[in-house]
């Protein structure tokens, strides 16, 4: 039971929200905000600086392969339709995340499980898509040590992919806890904190997608070497290669 106590002070009134006695799950806080939620916001502030540093590095090096004439060049390998699809998948996962939080806040456990599973699945599809993209780029000759363009691309998008992977593991943990009956509506803030993280990772992808893929690059010194393959064809190729790689 939350009770509010007005404290008259010499300089004015302060309002304190206080969650009952010492046994309560969340002790009273000065601002009334949940401390763990505040911790997540602060972590995201610092994560902005992590991504900011990596994005700056990429922006410095994005044209280096073209300038030095060390192929493959961005226009040859980036496939905007393909990456648009996976970006769309990731953005949709923010919607399902919102629905999951809304479900648990209403005490709808089935809704929580469905939408959390959907979010984790969409996230996993994105990570899988990125894995295939990386494999493709490697086949086309872009490695970590090919050029600083390649290095900064892989480290930036890989760092983001690691964030999504951690998010997927987190969401699956929530799903598991909920299936074990450990996620009552009073613990909706646990889902909300995971949601904050998830939305942040999505927003960062919008920035990365714009700066890395959408802003045009000059062609390489030899001009346009080949048209980027159609996204669908590419998926089929990747699928075939994947099947071919299976040991049976």
């Amino acid at each position: 039971m939350a009770i509010a106590i007005e404290v008259e002070t010499a300089r004015g009134a302060g309002h304190i929200d206080h969650g009952g006695h010492g046994h309560s799950e969340h002790p009273p806080t000065s601002t009334g905000l949940d401390s763990r939620k505040m911790l997540m916001w602060l972590f995201l502030a610092s994560d902005c600086m992590f991504f900011g540093t990596l994005i700056s590095t990429y922006m410095i090096y994005r044209n280096r392969a073209i300038e030095l004439g060390t192929p493959p060049y961005p226009n040859e390998i980036f496939d905007i339709p393909y990456t648009s699809v996976s970006a769309f998948v990731l953005l949709m996962s923010s919607l399902t995340m919102v629905l999951a939080l809304s479900a648990i806040q209403r005490g709808d456990h089935r809704g929580l499980r469905i939408w959390i599973a959907a979010t984790a699945l969409l996230g996993a599809i994105f990570v899988g898509g990125q894995f295939f993209e990386f494999t493709e780029f490697t086949h086309e000759g872009l490695g970590l040590s090919t050029s600083v363009f390649g290095a900064s691309f892989f480290v930036l998008t890989g760092f983001h992919g690691a964030h999504v992977t951690i998010g997927v593991v987190w969401l699956l943990s929530i799903l598991f806890i909920s299936l074990r009956g450990g996620m009552p509506a009073e613990k909706a803030v646990d889902v909300e904190i995971a949601g904050l993280y998830w939305h942040f990772v999505d927003i960062v992808w919008i920035v990365i997608f714009t700066l890395v893929y959408l802003i045009p690059y000059a062609d390489g010194p030899e001009g346009v070497v080949e048209e980027a393959p159609h996204a669908f064809l590419r998926l089929v190729t990747v699928g075939e290669r994947f099947l071919a790689a299976l040991p049976f």
């Binding site: 972590f43 392969a65 040590s145």
Partner: protein, 692 residues
């Protein structure tokens, strides 16, 4: 205020609280902020002694021209380790020790917001320090043996050393992996072309230390914003708490830059990338690689300049506590002091290029960063003015703590002035990489940070340990340290202007630098003697020290309202804050208010024993606890320690030779894999453990 009804409750007979238990296990699993403060303080002080020994070896080598106490390689290792130690293993953790000790007490809280995260910060700090110090501890004895042999042959004239090779290094494990590239690790010196395993030790150590710092910083921001006692608005917070808040924000925003910089460096060294490599060596020819060593400098100093404020602002915070108490006056210009601290932190992010004026970066950035650097002198000058104005007309008490605080004000002004000189680009170009710079940053970091931190030790010692440090020995220590410090570092200004470059292991007699160098070395011995006096003081105090009362200095902030040392729960009943200098208000203003009615004075003085006033919330919690029969405290936990061990093994596996598990493209060292498993296990155990 007096109108608030105060329910009188009897303190119940309490079972002995869990965290009061002694023994090794209770320390390993503790989440008590006061115990963590002690562990931080003791570790930092041990590293202070080691960093001091390294400094003494440096001064021994430089005490005369063409000396051979250490060779050039050993010398490079010594200045690298000395710098890294003093910054990351001494000033930062010692500041964090004070954050831990003081902040929850000053804001009237029972602990920090995340007690287990706090324990994790400490153990991770220790893990990072160990990664750096495992190689150092293996090589220091050899260096000392060599130095002793040189001293022997110098004094007795017997050529004990003729033909003796540096026998101490190669045979011991780890002794060849002591970092030697300088504390800011400029590329391309750190690239694999020019260096070995030692850079990986240094880089991963800083990574782990960064995790510890950031975890601590998150914790303190949330604690300060969310755990304040009722009535303590932001502008009623003690200045040390303000400093902690602002420093924590700096850590949270500045550390990512170096973390990423080190990640990129590690990729360059282990993953074949070329972020900092302009050229690579292929089949004996240099090929343009496309990377840029300047990227390292930018990323490092975007972290590195806020870092110097991370080092000095806690010291300023301590001085803000000490000077008003021993001037018997509230701090002059409290609000302006808060704004000045915030302004320094904000501007600190916009000045990093002044470390790079001589890189040929071009006139526009140089002019812009020169101007922004000069701007910082304004809020800093405001602070100096406020301290002076606080002392002005006060009844000054020159206790040891006050001497050290005033020592900071005077020494920091000297360091600050040479800092403004460096903002002037032509002057900076002349001073760059000379001993003038060495003099400058020792004036701000030793004359600034270390002086205030030692002052803070004298000020808070009674609160932590319940014993008063000896004032007579303290004053001898101060004057010896003050004289030794100036003798060591002031001549370095002359040496720098005379052209002596930093980081050279020796110099010729003809250079004419020997005179001020021998003076500086004598000064270093005086500093060492002063630290020895402090150790004697601590030993004596522990044995025979006078018992401290709750408020031995008549301080004005909440930490002085509770017994020394504080009980494990800090405040039995959460206090109610109505004024900035709460205890002074309660003690003096109230007596003054009732002065017109002498019959009430006695009552008021009786009320002083019950300071501070109780908050209704605190009373409600305490009443509930009385019913339950125990005081609500966070439970001890071993998961923070396990998580830190996991992190340590994860990093350590990358550094030492051990079998790899092949997983697709990646070979994963078996120690790292084990560390990762431990880390994940601890993380899940932590998440499912009731926080208590």
């Amino acid at each position: 205020m007096a109108s608030i009804a105060q329910p009188q409750i009897q303190a119940p007979t309490l079972p002995k609280p869990q965290a009061e238990e002694s023994g090794l296990w209770s320390w390993l699993t503790t989440v008590d902020h006061k115990r963590i403060a002690k562990m931080y303080g003791i570790s930092a002080f041990l590293f202070f002694l080691l960093g001091g020994l390294e400094a003494l070896l440096i001064r021994a080598q430089l005490s005369r021209p063409e000396n051979n106490v250490v060779d050039a390689q050993r010398y490079s290792e010594l200045f690298t380790i000395h710098g890294t130690t003093m910054i990351f293993l001494v000033v930062m953790p010692l500041s964090v020790a004070f954050f831990n000790l003081v902040v929850p007490l000053q804001i009237g809280a029972r602990d920090v917001a995340f007690p287990r995260l706090n324990a994790f910060s400490y153990w991770t700090f220790l893990a990072g320090a160990l990664i750096l110090y495992i190689p150092v501890l293996f090589s220091l004895p050899g260096i000392f043996a060599h130095a002793a042999a040189v001293a022997w042959s110098n004094i007795l004239g017997s050529p004990l050393l003729n033909g003796v090779q540096p026998w101490f290094d190669a045979n011991l494990p780890f002794a060849t992996v002591v970092p030697d590239q300088g504390w800011y690790g400029y590329a391309p010196l750190t690239e694999s072309l020019f260096s070995g395993r030692e850079i990986d030790f240094w880089a991963l150590s800083l990574q782990v230390l960064g995790v510890a710092s950031m975890a601590g910083a998150f914790n303190f921001i949330v604690t300060i914003i969310n755990m304040r006692a009722p009535g303590m608005s932001m502008m009623r917070m003690p200045m040390f708490t303000w400093s902690t808040l602002i420093v924590s924000i700096l850590i949270v925003l500045a550390f990512p830059a170096i973390t990423i910089a080190l990640v990129l460096l590690t990729f360059d060294r282990l993953g074949g990338t070329m972020f900092y490599r302009a050229f690579s060596l292929t089949d004996g020819t240099l090929v343009t690689a496309g990377g840029d060593p300047m990227l390292w400098q930018h990323l490092f100093w975007i972290f590195g300049h806020p870092e110097v404020y991370i080092l000095i602002l806690p010291a300023f915070g301590l001085v803000n506590e000490i000077i008003p108490v021993f001037s018997r006056k509230p701090l002059f210009g409290y609000a302006v002091m808060v704004y000045a601290t915030a302004a320094i932190a904000f501007l600190g992010f916009g000045v990093w290029v002044h470390h790079m004026f001589t890189t040929g970066i071009g006139p526009t950035p140089v002019a812009a960063f020169s101007a922004s650097t000069m701007l910082i002198a304004i809020p800093t000058g405001v602070k100096i003015l406020n301290w002076t104005a606080t002392m002005w007309g006060g009844s000054l008490q020159f206790t040891t703590a006050m001497l050290f605080a005033v020592g900071l004000v005077s020494q920091f002004v000297i360091g600050g002035l040479s800092g403004v000189m460096h903002a002037v680009v032509p002057v900076d170009t002349h001073h760059n990489d000379s001993y003038f710079v060495v003099a400058h940053f020792h004036y701000v970091l030793f004359g600034g940070s270390i002086f205030a931190l030692i002052g803070g030790l004298f000020y808070y010692w009674p609160k932590v340990f319940g014993k008063m440090l000896d004032e007579r020995l303290g004053k001898i220590q101060f004057w010896l340290q003050f004289a030794g410090f100036n003798l060591t570092f002031f001549p370095m200004h002359f040496l720098g202007l005379a052209g002596m470059p930093r980081r050279y292991s020796t110099y010729s007699f003809e250079s004419g630098w020997w005179f001020w160098n021998i003076i500086a070395s004598i000064g270093a011995l005086m500093i060492a003697a002063s630290v020895l006096i402090f150790l004697i003081n601590v030993t004596r105090t522990t044995r025979f020290g006078r018992q401290a009362e709750a408020n031995p200095w008549d301080g004005s902030t909440l930490e002085w309202a509770i017994p020394s040392p504080p009980p494990v729960y800090n405040f039995r009943i959460t206090p109610l804050v109505t004024h900035r200098d709460q205890l002074w208000h309660d003690k003096y203003d109230r007596v003054q208010e009732s002065a017109g009615r002498p019959d009430q004075v006695a009552d008021t003085i009786v009320a002083i024993d019950q300071l501070p006033e109780r908050s209704p919330v605190g009373v409600a919690v305490a009443e509930a606890e009385a019913e339950e029969g125990h005081i609500h405290l966070p439970n001890p936990s071993y998961y923070p320690l396990l998580l830190s061990i996991g992190l340590f093994l994860l990093a350590f596996g990358i550094l030492v030779n051990n079998p790899h598990i092949q997983l697709g493209f990646f070979g994963i060292p078996i120690i790292s894999a084990f560390g990762f498993l431990l880390l994940v296990t601890a993380l899940y155990g932590w998440s499912f453990e009731p926080a208590g």
